[in-house]
């Protein structure tokens, strides 16, 4: 059975099933897909739609039985974004959530490991958000570091 038939909504997009979902029902949809052959959780990705003032979380799943890729999309408001953790369904989601928490600042309720992951000592805006000015940050931090001043005639 195809993912769209299992859930009863969604559309075909470039050969993949695209299922828009609300914040609350996403857990039910992922559980239902898992029970119906979508045993492989591929990844959790995030898009910052700054024009619409929304984050989009995309849960990618793959079924070896049907050879089908399903994407469950959850839209969250950009102010204080929060989502339910799915690590009880697939344990590897915990790590994806950790990364997205660090890179986009999205809170995952129920995930107890939202500690610093790839960045060290980061206290600025989460760097993958589109309103974070990477060029300005690089200029402020790295271009302000002075050169090593050497004394002359030392032969070093």
């Amino acid at each position: 059975m195809k993912a769209i038939e299992i859930i009863g909504k969604g559309e075909e997009m470039h050969g993949r099933a695209y299922i828009p979902s609300g914040r609350e029902e996403a857990g039910t949809i992922i559980k239902k897909l898992k029970e119906n052959g979508f045993a492989h959780f591929v990844m959790l990705s995030c898009v910052d739609w700054i024009d619409k003032n929304e984050f989009e979380l995309v849960y990618h799943m793959w079924s070896y039985e049907h050879k089908e890729h399903a994407m469950i999309s959850v839209r969250l408001p950009r102010d204080n974004p929060s989502m339910f953790s799915m690590h009880e369904l697939f344990p590897q989601i915990e790590t994806y959530e950790r990364e997205i928490h660090e890179m986009y600042g999205i809170d995952f309720e129920g995930n107890s490991r939202l500690t610093p992951f790839l960045l060290e000592g980061w206290h600025d805006t989460p760097p993958m958000r589109k309103d974070f000015d990477s060029k300005k940050f690089a200029e402020d931090v790295f271009d302000s570091i002075p050169e090593i001043k050497e004394e002359e005639d030392e032969g070093i």
């Binding site: 790839l118 960045l119 060290e120 000592g121 206290h123 600025d124 760097p127 974070f132 990477s134 060029k135 940050f137 690089a138 931090v141 790295f142 271009d143 302000s144 570091i145 002075p146 050169e147 090593i148 001043k149 050497e150 030392e154 070093i156």
Partner: protein
């Protein structure tokens, strides 16, 4: 207490001999950052065979002479690189690969890549390119040997001499100067 002319001459002679010996037995530390590490297998193995110059890979910093920075450096990696560099015994040399440690390369506006490596560590030889071919890497090794022979590869002395400046720059990159970092 002064040294006599004879002492200085013997010291210079001994330095020359030790340089000749050390340039023929450079051990390269296995510490690969970024994408340049893929250029090293052909350099180390039979195609280019760096062992004919007496160079070999070494797993621990305390027995290595050459530190290769093979590509972009993030702030997080720079901390480890500084740790490793300070564990190495003098004389020690740094070779920087590619355009990223020179001025940031394609990561010039990245939030996490330190741009100019020479502000944090003394670099003896640069290899340009993105990425340099194994021929370029071999050429850099020969260049380093030539510099050692002439007594010009003195980055490690520079690091000792301007230690405060290097430490200040490293701390600035790690975020201590921004006053928000809670320690290393």
């Amino acid at each position: 207490m002064g040294l006599s002319d004879g002492d200085i001459m013997r010291y210079e002679e001994w330095n020359k001999i030790s340089r000749i010996a050390s340039r023929k037995s450079l051990w390269m530390l296995h510490f690969c950052t970024g994408c340049g590490a893929v250029e090293l297998p052909p350099v180390m193995t039979s195609r280019y065979d760096m062992e004919r110059f007496g160079m070999g890979p070494m797993a621990t910093p305390r027995q290595a002479d050459v530190l290769l920075i093979t590509g972009y450096l993030t702030v997080k990696t720079l901390k480890r690189v500084v740790n490793v560099y300070e564990q190495m015994q003098s004389p020690k040399y740094v070779i920087s690969f590619g355009s990223c440690p020179i001025n940031g390369g394609m990561y010039w506006d990245s939030y996490n890549t330190v741009k100019r490596l020479d502000r944090y560590l003394p670099v003896d030889v640069y290899v340009g390119g993105c990425m340099p071919r194994p021929e370029g890497v071999m050429n850099a090794f020969l260049e380093l040997m030539k510099l050692i022979d002439e007594g010009k590869a003195r980055g490690w002395e520079k690091y000792q001499k301007y230690y405060e400046q290097y430490k200040r720059n490293q701390k600035m990159a790690f975020g201590f100067e921004r006053g928000k970092n809670e320690g290393d």
